[in-house]
């Protein structure tokens, strides 16, 4: 029996490792598979790749002004201290819903700035530890939802959309509801 579990454990280990290896090599695996499929389908893969890559340059040029406009506004808001002020103002209200006040800065910065969110998140994990309630909760929050403003700017900027309609509101509401669910899940799993 013992031998059997040992083998099982070893097998599990091996399978886990293979999975891990595949995950880390996912980029070359995708590229390799696409190129192989292309050559079998008799596509001129090299010329095709170059043609596509050329379009990539245009996309970058097109989204640059949108990105610059958004980043300047967000960075001014953050650097001036206005953001911290708003966070402090809103903390008591958010507390009522059950969100710990330490998490509020993370919730606020996440839709605005990806690098900022990683900074705040690292800070929480450093101060409270990754396995504490706050560390666990902030990890779940970080694990979902993208930087909404960035996504809207880049995607709609690329095709020149000026009226974004309900996209921002839906994204923000969904983001907030996801945070509420994360709080409940963390409470259920940790306490």
């Amino acid at each position: 029996m013992q031998v059997f579990t040992k083998v099982l454990l070893k097998e599990g280990y091996v399978v886990g490792n293979i999975f891990n290896y595949l995950l880390k090599g996912i980029i070359p695996i995708i590229i390799g598979a696409v190129v192989l499929y292309g050559i079998i389908a008799k596509v001129k893969v090299y010329e095709c790749f170059v043609e596509g890559a050329k379009e990539g340059i245009n996309v970058c040029v097109r989204i640059f002004p949108y990105l610059l406009a958004m980043l300047i506004a967000v960075n001014c808001f953050r650097a001036s201290g206005a953001m911290n002020y708003v966070i402090n103002l809103i903390k008591p209200a958010v507390n009522v819903v059950g969100i710990p006040p330490e998490i509020v800065p993370l919730i606020f910065i996440k839709p605005l700035s990806g690098s900022g969110a990683i900074g705040v998140f690292t800070d929480i994990v450093k101060n409270y530890g990754p396995d504490s309630f706050l560390g666990f909760l902030s990890s779940i929050i970080m694990g979902g939802t993208e930087t909404i403003f960035y996504t809207i700017t880049v995607y709609f900027g690329a095709i020149g959309i000026k009226k974004v309609r309900h996209s921002l509101w839906v994204a923000l509401i969904v983001d907030f509801c996801a945070v509420l669910l994360a709080v409940n899940l963390a409470v259920m799993l940790m306490r």
């Binding site: 292309g38 596509g52 890559a53 379009e55 001036s80 990890s139 979902g144 993208e146 996209s167 963390a186």
Partner: protein, 191 residues
């Protein structure tokens, strides 16, 4: 709408900074943001060209059409107009898959590709179509199997089990996506 939001964030930031005596800091932030954005776009440029190239091969060889046909039954119900178009659906599938594997670098070029196809279907208007908004919300909610950044930061701070947040995070993002789809269907007639 986006005009008011951009103005609000930027102007509150500037006014707050100037009134609290952070004028110099604000100047520095604005100047450094411009160079930071250039750096960001240059980092993005390489990845964008790479994946646009790969995407072109996948497109020419018929691989994206095949993928699209595979997921068509599900996505057709969600995307009303883009669901009928193999090219748009192919790009949407590639984007969502890249997101699930945590490859946000690859997801952005695919996502822009998808937006361009939907723009073609929409007749190049400057108002976002229902499908575009839905696609954006799904990207903002972003279902992820492995939130790589979060797990590696947790590991860096000696977490006992860095991967313990994967399942709860998956729960929250799945919930967020479903909620996003429902909200989109409800709110689209008001915008």
């Amino acid at each position: 709408m986006i005009n008011v939001i951009w103005f609000g964030i930027l102007f509150i930031g500037i006014a707050f900074g100037l009134l609290t005596g952070d004028g110099e800091l604000l100047s520095k932030t604005i100047v450094s943001t411009t160079t930071d954005t250039v750096k960001l776009i240059i980092e993005l440029l390489g990845m964008m060209c790479l994946w646009c190239g790969v995407m072109k091969i996948a497109e020419r060889s018929g691989l994206t059409d095949k993928l699209a046909r595979l997921l068509k039954p599900i996505l057709r119900r969600i995307f009303k107009e883009a669901g009928k178009d193999d090219k748009a659906l192919g790009a949407i599938v590639m984007n969502l898959t890249a997101n699930m594997f945590g490859l946000s670098n690859a997801a952005t070029p695919f996502g822009i590709r998808a937006m361009e196809e939907m723009d073609r279907i929409n007749g190049h208007k400057d108002v976002a179509s229902n499908d575009m908004v839905l696609f954006l919300v799904l990207n903002a909610a972003c279902i992820q199997f492995v939130p790589t950044t979060v797990v590696s930061i947790r590991a860096a701070f000696n977490s006992g089990n860095p991967g313990s947040i994967i399942l709860p995070a998956l729960c929250t993002t799945t919930f967020a996506s479903i909620l996003g789809i429902i909200l989109c269907k409800f709110l689209r007639r008001y915008f």
